[in-house]
């Protein structure tokens, strides 16, 4: 696939942005295909797009927009446009939310709308210290029978982020791509380890980067030590493993190398919902933007992911992820650099 020079990219992005803003989706789709063929529109995101109802010590929401793919798409859209979304919602999903995503640079051609069904719904309540949460309601609805359809224009994508979903669906997505992406990253959760371990094992052999939290890494490997766990999990397939530790930062393992990025100490974590997905979005968005797949770029991508996640938790749901400025993001990144910079002058 041909690569275009960065000047051409900038011009193309400007044109794309214009049509996004005008909401000219048909024109946009054609342009998207054109750009995809040039190999520069290459991020594909799959996962849930859903309703959440959240209760934290700071307040309570009605049904608001949520779902892994929503957070991933929004976060990555600040780094790489457009984001090609594959997901499913019911007829109850508000059109204006789809337009919101579109306006942020998310291509919703791959978003199936099942008019007679209901969207996935999750409701949860956080403990006072925000360190644990109880699930109050899980209604799978459309997600129970989700058959991921990849629009033809999405074919040729180079970066694929598989948000947390049944491993069976994650495998289908990979199998339905005509050409294997340059990088496949995947999230999963304990639930799938309990009920779909065979499928999960198969999925792990097909991906490059697994992004999970510490608890999940321990369950998947049967090892408490994250360093030992990281080797066992990478033996299952992924060359890169990211272990998220929430407020305690994230670890990246590859070959014999380890990188650690802290989480920013925040005044207040208002709502942690979606922070992990936002992290994944920032991570994959950065790699797709730079179009580089190596340890050094993954380190930077993790810092971008952490920065995006630090915004996410400041307000309910996706609220803080809408309308971020480049300056805000840059300032946050600088805070990360300052936070862990030290000069030791070793021999």
């Amino acid at each position: 696939m041909r690569r275009v020079k960065s000047g051409a990219k900038i011009i193309l992005f400007t044109i794309l942005k214009y049509f996004f803003e005008k909401n000219e989706l048909a024109v946009l789709a054609d342009l998207a295909t054109f750009a995809a063929n040039l190999g520069i529109m290459s991020l594909l995101v799959i996962g849930s797009v859903a309703f959440d109802a959240i209760e934290t010590p700071f307040g309570k929401t009605d049904k608001i927009i949520g779902g892994a793919a929503t957070y991933i798409s929004m976060a990555s859209s600040y780094l790489c446009k457009p984001v090609n979304l594959v997901a499913v919602v019911g007829g109850d999903f508000p059109q204006e939310q789809i337009h919101q995503l579109n306006s942020m640079g998310v291509n919703s051609e791959g978003l199936q709308i099942k008019e007679d069904e209901k969207s996935f719904f999750w409701s949860g309540k956080y403990s006072n210290d925000m360190n644990s949460r109880d699930t109050l309601v899980t209604e799978l609805n459309v997600l129970g029978t989700f058959d991921p359809i990849i629009p033809q224009r999405y074919q040729g994508c180079e970066y694929l982020m598989l948000g947390n979903l049944s491993p069976d669906v994650q495998i289908k997505v990979i199998e339905r791509l005509e050409k294997r992406p340059k990088l496949i990253a995947m999230d999963t959760m304990n639930f799938w380890m309990d009920v779909a371990m065979d499928d999960l094992r198969k999925a792990l052999t097909m991906i490059d980067v697994l992004i999970i939290n510490d608890e999940e890494a321990r369950q998947l490997s049967g090892e408490y030590s994250l360093k030992k766990a990281s080797r066992i999990i990478r033996d299952m397939g992924p060359k890169y493993l990211i272990i998220k530790k929430g407020e305690h930062g994230a670890l990246l393992f590859h070959e014999d190398k380890v990188f650690f990025a802290p989480a920013l100490p925040l005044e207040e974590v208002f709502d942690p919902t979606g922070a992990g997905d936002t992290f994944a979005g920032g991570f994959i968005g950065y790699l797709a933007k730079l179009d580089q797949v190596d340890f050094e770029h993954m380190k930077r991508a993790i810092v971008y992911g952490s920065a995006m996640a630090s915004f996410c938790v400041e307000k309910f749901g996706t609220e803080r992820l809408v309308g971020l400025t480049n300056e805000e993001i840059n300032d946050r990144l600088k805070e990360f650099v300052v936070l862990s910079s030290v000069e030791l002058n070793l021999d």
Copy 2:
């Protein structure tokens, strides 16, 4: 107080080392006084010297040497010799353990030996994941009536590390120093917040650096957010606050600045006992060695503390802290630097 040039320091240290190795403690004491008057023998450590009996998933010890001041002294001795120890033990404390400390550069003139009494004894058992521990036995013994006596030769010390003890004893130590040290760092624990909060509050007004863990910071401040907690605690007195988060690293707060140092991801934590004290020892030892008290040096000191702590947990008790080489320490420091190094090329 006059400062000597670094060439003179090196010569003096070589002479001191010679007498340590010869076990010529009387000569050493005179030399120590001489050096102290020059302002270069300036680390004073106070805390418990004790027996521990430890059970972890990896094994079980009989009574072994432990106590906050033991770990602090050993760790700091790799950076700054001699370490002037103030503590109390009973007649049951083995002379060879004191010689062990002496051989590492720890001056035990301030170690009171109460022949007819027993040393402080603690026994604990760690959970399978090492994340919690139950105290099985606490016998205060000599520590119950500890009256800290500062030998005349220790007067003039510039760096003081107050290991975890009753705040009343910590205050006495400060009050018994003829000249206020350049830097006073202190550790404490939840227990004292419960039973001696008034004394603790007074102690906090007398120190520069408080070193506590996240749980203790939350209890002391009544705030869950560590960032908010850090402000409340610093309003109580200390200009610098270090919050240790165990396997999740450590945070340093000062004015509007924050620094985070990760803990090294280890294959196995064999025995966490004393890791926090070892961290404190590496921290204060580095500052005493460099004789610099500012945020940048404290950042580096925290990395040294983390490196020393990463050794401590690899074996039972103080075992791993004996006989470390400079090369081992340097290699560990380099691992820390690699672990969190990332270049972002921000504007």
